[in-house]
Each structure stands twice: as C-alpha cells, then as structure tokens.
C-alpha cells in the first residue's frame, strides 16, 4: 500500500497513491497508516483524491486507522471521489470524520 506522507506546517497530509482500498488492501493500509502516523503533526489529513473505490473492508480500515491514533491526534479526510463519498454517506460515517472537499486549498492554507 503506497501512502505518501508530507508535512504542511501543522498537518500531516497522507496521500493514498493507489486506486482501491478494498478487502485485498485493507490490512496493509491499516498497518501502513500506523507507520506514517507514528510521528509528525498530530493533525492528520488522509487525501483520498486518487482513490476511486472503497468497500466496507476499506471503510473499516480507515476507521481502524483513526482508532489506533493516540488521544491527541485527529484524522480528517479530503478529496473524496464520487463512489467513495457514497460509501461514507450510506454508512453515515461521513458524520464521524471532518471531510474537506479540496485538498489543494487545504495545502495552500496549511502552507500559507
């Protein structure tokens, strides 16, 4: 699972460089998230703009990635594509995360 972590001032922006977080990828995603969130800013934003498909296993892995954070860390989401947004909306998990529409604007704000 290819996750790229970059720090923008107070944010750890983690970009998923793969198209699918599905049952075949869920465990590796969760493990890699543990690695890339073990240090750096406590405000973490998961950039899903390259991800076109998340199934319930992938959704569970994203939730698990949040639950494995320490108490002072927070996980937001950004750049949800159409089908990914649908999974979060149907399961009401869109009420659990702060979801940013535009990762580019978010980066600009973090840098500026």
């Amino acid at each position: 699972m290819d996750l790229q972590s970059t720090y923008h001032n107070d944010m750890n922006i983690i970009t998923v460089a793969e198209a699918r977080i599905d049952a075949a990828a869920a465990i590796r995603f969760k493990d890699k998230m543990r690695d890339v969130t073990s240090q750096g800013p406590t405000h973490i934003v998961l950039d899903l703009s390259n991800v076109t498909f998340v199934d319930s296993s992938g959704l569970g892995a994203i939730v698990a990635a949040m639950k494995q954070l320490s108490g002072n860390q927070r996980l937001d989401l950004a750049g949800l594509t159409t089908d990914v947004a649908k999974v979060f909306r149907l399961t009401r998990m869109d009420t659990v995360f702060v979801i940013h529409d535009d990762i580019i604007a978010l980066k600009a704000r973090a840098t500026g």
């Binding site: 049952a23 319930s56 296993s57 569970g60 649908k86 399961t91």
Partner: protein, 178 residues
C-alpha cells in the same frame, strides 16, 4: 436450473498496470468470462484479488453497455460486499474455491446471480443488514458489519436460495437511478 462449477478455471497472469509491483507476480487468480456482451458468466477463484478483477471486469462491461456511472458505482459496491462475503465467510475454511457470477444487462435492469459451493448463510436466510451505530466515542466506532446493509440498500431486489449444496444470491438493480 442446476448450475455446476468447473473444477478449475484457466490460470491467467494479469499484467495490467495499476497493481503494486510484486503483487501481480504472486497472484493466484483466474477470472474467465464467457458469453455475449450483455449476458455473460464469470468464473473466479475465491480470493480477494480475484474479487477485485471480477469487479473491474463487470464495471468495464457496464460502462461499455452505457450504464450510468452512478448505477455502476452502486453495482460495484454491492457486488464487492457480496463477493467478499463469499471469500471471507462461505469459503472461510481456507481451501480456494470458485465463484460463478452470471450477469444479464437488460434495457431496464441489471441482474446478477452469484453461485458458490461454500457454507450456507446462517439460518438459510438473508441477514437483516442493520446499519452499525456510527455515534459514540472513537474507541467504540464500528469497523465492520456494513456489508449486508450496503447490499440491501443499493440493490433493488435481493434474493437468496440454498440449492443442491450451493448458495444462489440474486441481486438486481434498476438502470435508471430512482
């Protein structure tokens, strides 16, 4: 109607781009497709990667037949849940087995019949598919249990039958979004 699974599908090596390096080298997958563009049968090895290939194959066929992105997205998600249930529950005992998927693309609806020779659904009936509670503290948030909720929510019709030692799951979707 009796459906039997071929004992062993043809082994294929998939070299399409988009898979992480290494993954495609050790893949033990096989998805065979037989039929016409609008009525076809896929036979897949029951594995998570074969599920992925099956979904990609179905999605590209739906796209080619002019099915909307919205409907195709719903189909892909519901089918992912149904196929993963087979891999993770029906065939939980480990031995790699086959899943057969019959697809029928009609002018007004999309019909899918999934057949597997794994364990039956508990109580021989469809799970209720209640949505796990997303409220409450972070440590208590659900990490699973969404599958049947999504299948029931996304499909227009869901039917299950255990026949001749096999599971037959039918999912139907309307082509036009309601």
């Amino acid at each position: 109607m009796t459906i039997s699974l071929p004992s062993k599908p043809v082994q294929q090596v998939d070299q399409r781009p988009g898979y992480p390096r290494g993954e495609q080298l050790k893949r033990d997958i096989a998805v065979t497709v037989d039929g016409t563009p609008t009525d076809f049968t896929l036979t897949a090895r029951a594995s998570e990667l074969a599920v992925r290939d099956t979904l990609l194959t179905v999605r590209s066929r739906l796209l080619a037949e002019g099915v909307s992105d919205e409907t195709s997205g719903s189909v892909e998600l519901a089918m992912a849940e149904a196929l993963n249930n087979i891999v993770e529950h029906a065939y939980a005992t480990g031995e790699s087995r086959d899943i057969m998927l019959k697809v029928s693309i009609k002018p007004d609806r999309l019909c899918f019949l999934l057949c597997d020779g794994g364990a039956p659904l508990p109580g021989l009936c469809l799970p209720q598919g209640k949505l796990p509670d997303p409220s409450g503290p972070r440590d208590d948030l659900p990490e699973g249990g969404f599958g049947w909720f999504l299948i029931r929510d996304l499909a227009e019709r869901v039917a299950y039958e255990r026949r001749d030692g096999m599971n037959h799951l039918t999912l139907e979707f309307l082509r036009a979004a309601p």
